[in-house]
């Protein structure tokens, strides 16, 4: 499996299922026990083993420290191993996690904005009040073109912060929002100007 392109906006998706049930239990009369996989454990597993991100990147995406991420991740693996070995069912629930909000773009003023309150539907641009807005959903437009565009990444050489490269913006003009260092293009040799 090749690493999927890094995406800026979609930090997390709710799991598509609420758990797993074992079948073919050889224990006679044994009732099925459960392990509870927290949402944050599910998310750590998704980022590290499905999106193939390293722990540093995953910790940034989940807004936790790296040691915390590593702890959540090993907990997730322990629980899944326990379920497999002992024939328990897995129930995904709870945990402290937010789901990334939806993003929109305004065709009138060109701004991007999110919907912080999912209970309410967004009908107009919060800035210019124009109703000509588009749901901005990178996940729904996974065309060849987008994949290429998103796979170019600017990375901060001092703290590892990454952001999709913007066409026409030299990476060195991008300032890392985490530590203020000038960014470089990821995966390409770069000259340093002293």
């Amino acid at each position: 499996m090749s690493p999927r392109p890094f995406r800026l906006r979609k930090i997390s998706n709710p799991p598509v299922i609420s758990g797993f049930k074992p079948y073919g239990n050889k224990k006679i009369g044994g009732k099925t026990e459960s392990v509870f996989l927290h949402l944050e454990e599910y998310e750590a597993l998704r980022l590290c083993d499905y999106e193939m991100l390293n722990h540093h990147q995953a910790s940034i995406l989940m807004a936790v420290s790296r040691p915390t991420l590593t702890r959540i991740y090993s907990k997730a693996r322990q629980k899944i191993a326990e379920a497999l070995v002992q024939g328990k069912q897995i129930i995904i629930e709870g945990g402290k996690i937010y789901f990334d909000s939806e993003w929109y773009s305004c065709k009138n003023c060109g701004c991007f904005f999110n919907n912080p309150d999912k209970q309410e539907e967004i009908k107009e641009c919060p800035l210019c009040r124009n109703s000509n807005i588009l749901n901005y959903e990178p996940d729904n437009e996974e065309t060849e073109e987008n994949t290429t565009r998103y796979s170019d990444i600017c990375i901060c050489p001092s703290c590892g912060y990454e952001t999709p490269h913007r066409c026409g913006c030299p990476c060195k003009d991008e300032i890392c929002p985490e530590c203020g260092t000038n960014m470089v293009r990821k995966g390409r040799p770069h000259k340093r100007n002293f």
Binding site: I11, M62, I175, P177
Partner: protein, 105 residues
């Protein structure tokens, strides 16, 4: 409703600062009273943690929206959990006055 706009100075003619955590000033604008406050950003030159500290600062002013040129990933998740709306405007030439005018369209 209060809106924070990142600005590079403390006047209406100042421009939209494209950085959130390390902007020069936070313009706190109240759309009801039309009151304006320019808060110097104490985290402007911070070595690290400028983003979260700036979130704390604007959140303490009960801001419901933030207008800036860019939000880091950590900041996005923080603001998401605080239910503060992010408005990304990549127009560094826009003055604070122009942005306030847009809000009153």
């Amino acid at each position: 409703m209060k809106v924070a706009i990142t600005s590079n100075g403390n006047s209406l003619e100042s421009k939209l600062d494209q950085r959130f955590g390390r902007c020069g000033y936070f313009t706190i604008y109240d759309t009801e009273t039309k009151g304006i406050e320019f808060l110097p950003n104490p985290n402007k030159d911070a070595q690290e943690g400028a983003g979260p500290a700036s979130v704390q600062l604007v959140a303490s002013r009960n801001v419901q929206k933030i207008i800036s040129g860019e939000f880091g990933i950590k900041i996005k998740s923080l603001l998401d959990s605080l239910k503060i709306q992010m408005i990304v405007l990549k127009q560094p030439e826009k003055s604070i006055r122009e942005i306030i005018d847009m809000l009153h369209n």
